[in-house]
Point group: C2
Chain length 349, copies 2
């Protein structure tokens, strides 16, 4: 058995919490039993969680419940959450990372509140202005990482280069590969394309001697079908791109359902059922559930608010993978190297 | 028979020009015969075009060929195209709009060159800094307009409000509807979300008494599945969103082909063939082929460079619809009203 890892969980966060959280934990043990020894610290309504745990058949040895009456609502503003949310299930889950009681925290709750509370409790690493939110993006064969997807609405070139080194460390930790290909999102691949910020970041990354596998500018279509493993962009563009892809996928799904939804269409399509099922499994968006805040002194995973138990289980698996990795040390090392290089070449950060 | 409309065509522009251009004209006459009297002025290699026209069976009465030996290559930079491209098929097609010989010009050639040449020859309307490129976006029931999708990489709030009024006029001209719903693309729908530029544009559009049906902020997923008819954004974000959607659609297509591509999968899927065909027809991206440069003293349609004859025919149909409309007068009227209102409220343009 490898080392033991502890994940603290905001059991009350998410549209369908706490039951998808508890079912997600049960699913996680089924899917990843024996891979490593993981224990959970759950924050939320004790009696509700206890009855859900026994209904889901989760062994009590694996789980410790820490009771709280308060939780952050899904539509609270970050400032409200900070004022009123101390002692909430979300706050306490992050606090476990701060005190060292847990290796990593997971929440499917309010993104803005989670970001604000994580930043306040864990603080950003030296030289990092604001953490970035990195998303996993499903592809035909594997996944890529896109950051930032909404934490930093306005970014300068220094932040984009930080995203590149943090995204690189994240991808290596998650997929245990070396030298992921890093692309910078732009409106074209030629050097003269783009705004002043992406041009400056492009120049900075091209000049760098840090050993990043920077492949240059990539375009929107390269996110789903290109060959960059890490795609760097500002939070405004990244958020729009992520939601545009979600909208496109939903449109295709609606048209498929509309096409095959009638009785006769279903009868005609029946022989294809197993192919469809296999296909759906391959592009199951729940597999890509779990964003991470990069640049903090601790690891916090954001699960999609509307996810189900399978999706939440995948967020827990990302958490376990990161807990096991030397991810935070790696980010510390590469950020320090980047900022030293910035000083040497006179890059304003 | 209604009035006669003249469309000038860069017959040498596009990856598969000139044959997709000529086949596109033939397809246009088949699909839209009798709707209105349209004639074409073709610019390009005369002998090549003549033999393609007779092969496609296009009546000679409908088409006049104006010979030129030169054409703009697909990878020429805009500055190169301006220096060397005078007298090219693209240049001459635009010139026909300037002289009044044609109501509208269509090209599937190099976008940057087409933009630069259009701007130089037709000039922007009073008060418009740079034209915007508006794209049609397919939805389950109909289409929406998104602008800018790449002509203006950095935009201020004044430009975004101009895009709103121009997009409104474009949508009304194309779909003959009144009061299209206009949304401003952002990372959330709450007033406090977004960067300074979108916030200022939001305030300006909310305050306006011009009678625009402005519905406020929309998000990336609203492009494909929302209820705004016109979606306003800067050219950087719009370009990334457009290409991200293309990439997502290609990913889904690749997975579908992969799933149903083997011999047995094909046999099993055979009964679904007609449903698939109906579905493909509904979301045929060629139906949405044809961007338009808004803000010029003349109408120029950009067809996708890689389109086929059906797609090119759809770009010609958009051209014919716009030629018939009072589109340019409408844009003139609404832009003047906007700028008057800007002056009254002291908005810096």
């Amino acid at each position: 058995m490898p080392d033991s890892f502890v994940i603290s969980v905001d059991a009350m966060g998410g549209d369908d919490a706490p039951h998808i959280v508890i079912d997600g934990i049960a699913h996680f043990y089924e899917a990843h039993a024996g891979e490593r020894d993981v224990k959970f610290l759950l924050h939320g309504d004790k009696s509700q969680l206890e009855s859900l745990l026994s209904a889901a058949g989760v062994t009590k040895d694996h789980v410790t419940i820490s009771h709280t009456d308060t939780q952050v609502s899904m539509d609270a503003k970050p400032s409200q959450a900070l004022r009123r949310g101390k002692g909430s299930s979300m706050w306490n889950a992050i606090a476990d990372v701060k005190t060292g009681a847990a290796h990593v925290a997971v929440s499917a709750g309010n993104t803005g509140a989670l970001m604000a509370m994580s930043k306040l409790q864990l603080r950003t690493k030296t030289g990092v202005q604001r953490p970035a939110l990195a998303a996993l993006w499903p592809r035909q064969d594997g996944m890529c990482v896109v950051l930032d997807v909404g934490a930093n609405i306005e970014c300068d070139a220094a932040q984009l280069t930080e995203f590149a080194v943090m995204g690189d460390a994240y991808f290596r930790a998650l997929f245990k590969t070396s030298n992921p290909r890093i692309g910078l999102l732009n409106v074209g691949t030629e050097d003269q394309k783009g705004n002043a910020t992406v041009k400056a970041a492009h120049e900075r990354l091209t000049e760098s001697k840090l050993g990043l596998n920077y492949i240059g500018f990539v375009e929107g279509n390269d996110i789903a079908i290109g060959d960059a493993n890490v795609i760097v962009t500002d939070g405004f563009t990244g958020n729009v791109a992520l939601k545009t892809a979600e909208g496109t996928a939903k449109l295709v799904k609606a048209i498929l359902e509309d096409t095959f939804g009638s009785f006769w269409a279903k009868v005609l399509a029946a022989p294809s059922f197993f192919s469809f099922k296999a296909m759906r499994k391959r592009i199951d968006p729940r597999l890509a559930n779990g964003g991470v805040f990069l640049g903090l002194n601790g690891i916090v995973i954001k699960s999609h608010g509307g996810t189900d138990s399978v999706g939440f289980s995948n967020a827990l698996n990302i958490a376990a993978n990161l807990a096991e990795s030397q991810f935070l040390d790696e980010i510390e090392r590469t950020l320090t190297a980047l900022h030293d290089e910035d000083d040497n070449i006179g890059f304003i950060t």
